[in-house]
Each structure stands twice: as C-alpha cells, then as structure tokens.
Amino acid sequence: MTLIASNLTTKGKEEFFLNDISFEMSPGKIYTIIGRTLSGKTTLLKTIAGLIAQDSGTLSFNGNNFDVIPVWKRQVAMVYQQFINYPHLNVFENIAFPLKQRKVDLAEIKNRVQQAIEQVGLEGFEERKIQALSGGTTTTCCTCKISCEKRKYFTTR
C-alpha cells in the first residue's frame, strides 16, 4: 500500500510547478509537505488526487501504475482549505454523497453516516441545508464526510 512518486514534473509556460519530485509514502504514516507560497504544494496534492496530470514522471500505488486510474476511482480524499460542501444537499446527504457514488448499500450508508455524525457531534443538523450552518459546523460536516469513508489516502491543503 505504498505510494511512490518518481520524477514528477509539471511545467507551465515558463516555470515549473513540479520539478523532478520523487518520494515514497508508506501506509499508516502522516506526511507533511511544507513550502513557501506558489512552491507547488497544491499542484502536488492535485497530482496525487488525479486532478492534474503531470507532464512526466510516474505515480505508482501498491506496485501498480496510479496514473492510469481516473480521479473518481482513486479513492483519494481531499479536504480543501475552503471546506467544500454541496449547497443543494443537506448535511446528511452531503456526508452520504461519496458513499452513494461508490454504490454502498443504503442501510450501510445510513448506519455509517449516523455513526460519523454522532462521533463529531452533528446530531440534530442532519436535515439542515449547508447555507444554514456556521463556518465551524461546515468544516465539521466536510471532515465528517471524509471520515465515514474508508479511503486509501487523505490529503488536505
């Protein structure tokens, strides 16, 4: 379950966003990427997630080529700095959305979402629209969505 990046390079018109980046990430560990503004941290995370395709270099996961797997099948979780939720769904539906997408059994979804909601203390907010939540509760809802899924990688920016 190791994620290996080899010589990842992404170049814009004039400058490199990623310049020959290589690393190895082992399961069960927490890694922090530190760098100044515009140093390519977000580009790297988006490349791992599959949102950006690198110009050269490879990503492999568990010995298999990760590059050929589209973003929606990579099972990478990503929490944005701004904490993205879907405004047209309520709290429960937001948290259940990725599980529904991955065709998890409905009873299982209900069970897991309810458990996650109880864990983070969002009971009573299930039917609320995202617009009606405070900034803090929105953040909780967003992280709750990630936590009730069993994804392989979790990235945040």
């Binding site: 988006k46 997630a49 599959g50 949102l51 589209p70 973003v71 929606w72 099948k73 990478v76 979780a77 990503m78 944005y80 701004q82 904490f83 993205i84 939720n85 879907y86 405004p87 047209h88 959305f97 990725p98 997408q101 991955r102 629209k129 995202i130 617009q131 009606a132 939540l133 900034g135 929105t138 953040t139 969505k145």
Partner: protein, 282 residues
C-alpha cells in the same frame, strides 16, 4: 437622515411602480371601451366616464369570417414554439457554457473567449441579415410555415442568450465543487449532472426567462417565415389592425399576450432567490 432616506426610497418606488403599472391600467381600461369611448377624449373610470363593453375581447375569439381575429390557435402556437425553443436552447446552451467555462479550447488564435463572443455575435448582427438565409434554408428543408421550422430558427436565436448567461454563471461557480465531486467518486458527466447542474438552477432560470421573453416577443421571424398554415401571436395581434385602429381589441390582445410572461416571472421569482452557492465555500 433615516426618515428622509426612507421617504425618498418609498417615493422612488411609488413613482417607478406608477410608471410600470400605468400602461397596464391604460390597456385594461381601453380594452373595455368601444369606438366612441376611445375617440371622445380621455376617459378613465368605467361606468362613470364610459360604459364598458366586452367587444374588444370578443374580437379576439371570433373567426375572421365573423370580423374577428381568433387568437387561440396563434396563442397555442406561440406557447409551443417559445417553450420548446427555450427548453432546447437552455439544454444545449448550458452544456456549451459548461464546456466553455471548464475546459480549454484552442484552434490557432481562437480560444474560449473568442468562441463565447462568436455565440454572442449572433445576437449583435441585425435580424434582417439572417432573414434571407433562414428563408432559403427552411424552404429547401420544406419547413417554411411550420412550427418545427420556427422552433429551429428560434433555437438559433435564443441559444446565444443561454450560452452568454450560463458561461458567466459557471465562471462564478467555484471549480473546487467540480473537483470535490470527482474526488467523491463522480465521473465528469456525473459531476456536472449531480453537483454542478442542481446548483446552477438560478442561472438556468434567468437564462430561460430571457429566452422566453425574446422568443415570445419576436415578430420579425414569425412574420417572415410563416404564411397561412402557422401564425404566431405577435403576427395575429398585428393583423387586428385595419383602416381604423381598434385600440380596444389591440389593448385586450396586448394584455393577453403579456399575461404568460407575468405568470412565468411570478413562478420563477422564487427560484432566483434560492439555490445560491453561498454555502459551497466557507
């Protein structure tokens, strides 16, 4: 200062309301008049200033043989053409706008902005420029004087409006929403239909409203591309005119023709205020 501001605000609103409502009241009053009431000077209040009559309204339901202009069929035709053309325009326009907003297109010096401008430019050129090409094309396709032909032409005319409004709307939808949907397991098509589209309803409603207004009020193409088989409402209303302008029936027809737009405006108004993207990013 507060009282002055409130007074000023209410005065402005009252004056504007009078400005907007006055033509409707004038048309409503005139629609119940007859020839004498219209030509004998300014009269306003029914039963006091003039004796109301339903003649102006009856003309709209009588057949031409009975000296009237039956507007029921043109009315249904107009509803059909406008609704179908607006629906197709919004459907295609939304898809085109999403692609223009999210993907980069490049063919030589032509880029996304140029393609968007190309769509808008269809509305900049005078309609008369398009009249002859449309006439020849529909003639060759055997679609002159048919509802299908009119729908096709109106889609061409209305889609630029939809694209223009929706490109601007999608540009304001954070791309992070699309990305989150992809990460959550949606493929790009699912991300569009399950996440982006439901949050774009206000934009689509605005675009739809504009399409309906432009489609409903178009006279030029409805007049050029139809003869005897199919007639749309604006053409039917104009055919009311004769050597003596029948202000009473013209007023009734004007009220009838504007009614659907008022109804649509009231229905869609609530969609304009809800479903916004304020909760997407915090």
């Amino acid at each position: 200062m507060g009282t002055f501001y409130v007074t000023l605000k209410y005065t402005a609103v009252t004056l504007w309301s009078m400005f907007v409502i006055a033509p409707f009241l004038w048309a409503l009053s005139t629609s119940f008049k007859d020839f004498n009431s219209v030509t004998s000077g300014a009269t306003y209040i029914p039963w006091v200033d003039f004796e109301p009559t339903l003649e102006g309204w009856r003309v709209l339901l009588r057949s031409p043989a009975q000296g009237g202009v039956n507007i029921v069929e043109p009315y249904i035709n107009s509803i059909f053409v406008t609704c179908l053309a607006s629906f197709i325009s919004i459907l295609l326009g939304t898809l085109a706008a999403y692609a223009l907003s999210r993907y980069t297109f490049k063919a030589g010096f032509i880029k996304n902005d140029d393609i968007t401008f190309f769509f808008i430019s269809q509305r900049i050129m005078p309609p008369v420029v398009l009249a002859i090409p449309f006439f020849i094309m529909l003639g060759k396709l055997g679609l002159l004087d048919t509802l299908l032909g009119l729908v096709m032409v109106y889609v061409v005319l209305l889609m630029p409006i939809a694209v223009w409004i929706m490109v601007d709307f999608f540009n304001k939808v954070p791309i992070e929403i699309d990305e989150t949907a992809l990460i959550d397991g949606c493929n790009p098509i699912q991300a569009f239909f399950k996440v982006v589209l439901p949050n774009s309803i206000p934009g689509m409603v605005v675009a739809g409203l504009f399409c309906m207004i432009f489609g409903w009020t178009d006279f030029f193409f409805a007049f050029i591309l139809t003869f005897t088989e199919v007639q749309l409402l604006p053409v039917a209303i104009v055919s009311l005119n004769s050597s003596i302008t029948p202000w009473w029936s013209l007023s009734a027809a004007a009220l009838v023709s504007v009614a659907p737009l008022i109804v649509v405006a009231f229905i869609v108004e609530r969609y304009l205020s809800k479903g916004n993207l304020s909760g997407a990013l915090k």
